[in-house]
């Protein structure tokens, strides 16, 4: 053991989340659905951690639990060493500043009636930045860092005037404007073409480097995870089936499920390389 181990950003111990009744009206029976079934993970400071799994495996649920948008039924989540279950009042507000989400769909996540400036500046207002000059400055910095520059040109725009990639950059700027320490990106490019996804991945890698932010990258695309992540965990039906260094998991998959994910990736076998 090293003498002074750096404190991890996030430690998850045996968490569970069960939805007791089916959301829908016509369920045959109201059986419980265990969306997260005893997950333990540790995300180190400054790393990009990938959570990879198929649809319905529990990725978004895990993200929502980490954001404390929902409560766990069992286990413990520690953020920078502190249990988040009891957070209230000022402590909760501070947590909400330090942990941010980049949502999946830039077409639905941005308010169509808010200009890009208002979209990015809104979190600043919520977190009590009163000076409008300070807000302008921070919003401009965030937009620039997200690759929307000159920022002032984008301030008056509305989401429908931006391309898909630009919208996702605006959503990233909104998530980054409060200088969070931990950011969860939930399938941030599944709606975008390869050229745009690639620039978004590079942007995320860049933000990690320049701002030291810790990233949880949620995806079902192993190729993207390999490109961006130091370590990945593969989730299947609410359980982690495998985790390790990205290269290692992809080159030496230890579970049938990971192998199935790898085999389902598009390949261009018809190209005579």
């Amino acid at each position: 053991m090293p003498d002074t181990p750096a404190e991890p950003m996030v430690q998850i111990q045996g968490i569970k989340k069960t939805y007791s009744e089916d959301r829908s009206l016509f369920a045959r029976s109201a059986q419980a659905l265990t969306a997260i079934d005893g997950v333990s993970l540790c995300i180190e400071k400054g790393e990009v951690f990938g959570l990879v799994g198929a649809s319905g495996s529990g990725k978004t649920t895990l993200g929502r639990l980490l954001l404390k948008l929902e409560e766990i039924d069992a286990g413990q989540i520690r953020f920078q060493g502190k249990d988040i279950s009891g957070l209230k009042g000022a402590a909760l507000k501070d947590f909400r500043r330090r942990v941010q989400l980049i949502p999946q769909d830039p077409y639905q996540s941005l308010n169509p009636y808010m200009s890009i400036f208002d979209t990015v500046a809104e979190p600043l207002i919520i977190h009590g930045i009163r000076s409008s000059e300070a807000r302008r400055q921070k919003a401009a910095q965030a937009l620039d860092a997200a690759g929307l520059s000159p920022a002032a040109d984008f301030f008056p725009s509305y989401p429908h005037q931006l391309s898909g990639g630009q919208r996702q950059r605006a959503a990233i700027a909104r998530a980054m404007v409060l200088s969070p320490e931990f950011v969860i990106a939930d399938e941030p490019t599944s709606m975008l073409d390869a050229t745009i996804s690639f620039t978004i991945f590079k942007l995320l890698a860049d933000l990690r480097k320049t701002q030291g932010v810790t990233l949880l990258f949620i995806t079902h695309d192993l190729a993207a995870a390999r490109f961006l992540c130091d370590r990945i965990a593969v989730i299947y039906k609410g359980q982690i089936v495998e985790s390790g260094l990205s290269e290692q998991v992809i080159n030496n998959p230890g579970s049938d499920y990971t192998r199935a994910l790898i085999n389902a990736q598009p390949r261009f076998s018809f190209v005579n390389q």
Binding site: R28, G53, G56, A194, F201, D221, F227, A260, F268, F270
Partner: protein, 321 residues
């Protein structure tokens, strides 16, 4: 004559402020049993093009000019009643995000039966049920799930049921708009294999729309790359992957992450193979000029021309030798 011929198709949307062209002089043809993929970024006009072929554009959208000939019929001037008979029976469309459009309070089987019987009023209920059973076999959903409600299906099952519905009338042409985008890789792979097998088995023509060139490459014989309303490169799949010429196509391919890293284009430096210029298409400058690493003075002053690299591979770009 090919099953489908699209000539100079130009589609626009009227908004309060302007009339914006969403698809500009699109030309292609498709034979029975062949498949063509349309790829391009969000908003480039893929759905618009698909909808226009079926005359299902939203009310502020219209075809400005061009022709669509399907099996000898001029689709754009067909009377509404005849067009209705072409839709779904002869040309079926799988709409973008269709799997979320199942009526949540009606059993899926009933929804398919209803569709079959509206289009074929003479068929008996028993015959229609039989047909649904066969379709379910084809898309590999157990027959005892036919009369489930939508929420009892997984996303992949809902999408397979949509495919079953599209196949119900044995169409000659299917237009599939992002049929797998919301699904995870494993389910996506299964559905793509399914679509490919059925297309081949039934000799159906397929137009496959996606923003993901990897997905298109897995399914289609031919690829058309679309950028800002224009087709900018079209060719056989192998040609487009092995000798991509248009700088946007090259950017699309060289930013495509595969499990082994980024896709590598084989001919590394030559984006300008010899080619013969064809007719100039438009009066406007190239739409990619603001991002293109090869943009020259010529690109900023003259519109690009269609170039033929091979008889089956052409590119809209000024870059060729």
């Amino acid at each position: 004559m090919a099953l489908l011929e699209v000539e100079n198709l130009t589609i626009a949307y009227k908004t309060r402020r302007e009339t914006a062209i969403a698809a500009d002089r699109v030309n292609f043809s498709l034979e029975r049993g062949r498949s063509v993929g349309i790829v391009g970024e969000s908003g480039c006009g893929k759905t618009t093009l698909g909808m226009a072929l079926l005359r299902l554009l939203p009310s502020n959208g219209f075809v400005k000019k061009g022709r669509v000939t399907f099996d000898g019929m001029d689709l754009l001037s067909l009377p509404d009643t005849r067009m209705q008979r072409v839709r779904w029976k002869r040309i079926a469309m799988i709409f973008q995000a269709a799997m979320n459009a199942w009526n949540p309070v009606q059993r899926i089987g009933d929804q398919i039966l209803e569709a079959i019987r509206t289009h074929d009023p003479k068929i008996t209920k028993a015959e229609a049920v039989k047909q649904v059973e066969q379709l379910y076999e084809l898309v590999e959903i157990p027959a005892d799930r036919i009369f489930d409600f939508p929420h009892q299906y997984s996303g992949g099952m809902k999408q397979r049921a949509i495919i079953a519905m599209a196949l119900a009338c044995s169409p000659d042409l299917i237009i599939a708009d992002e049929p797998t985008t919301a699904l995870d890789v494993i389910v996506q792979d299964q559905i793509l294999q399914k679509i490919k097998a059925i297309q081949k088995e039934k000799n159906i023509a397929l137009i496959f729309i996606s923003h993901d060139i990897g997905v298109v490459a897995g399914v289609c014989h031919e690829i058309m790359v679309m950028y800002r309303g224009k087709i900018v490169e079209a060719g056989r799949r192998e040609e487009v992957f092995e000798v991509p010429v248009h700088p946007y196509t090259r950017a699309l391919l060289s930013s495509y992450l595969t499990i082994d890293g980024v896709f590598e284009i084989r001919d590394k430096q030559s984006p300008a193979p010899p080619c013969t210029p064809a007719e100039p298409l438009s009066k406007e400058l190239c739409g990619y000029v603001h991002l293109c690493p090869h943009a020259s003075e010529a690109c900023r002053s003259r519109p690009p021309q269609w170039r033929e690299i091979t008889p089956t591979h052409k590119v809209l770009c000024s870059l060729c030798r």
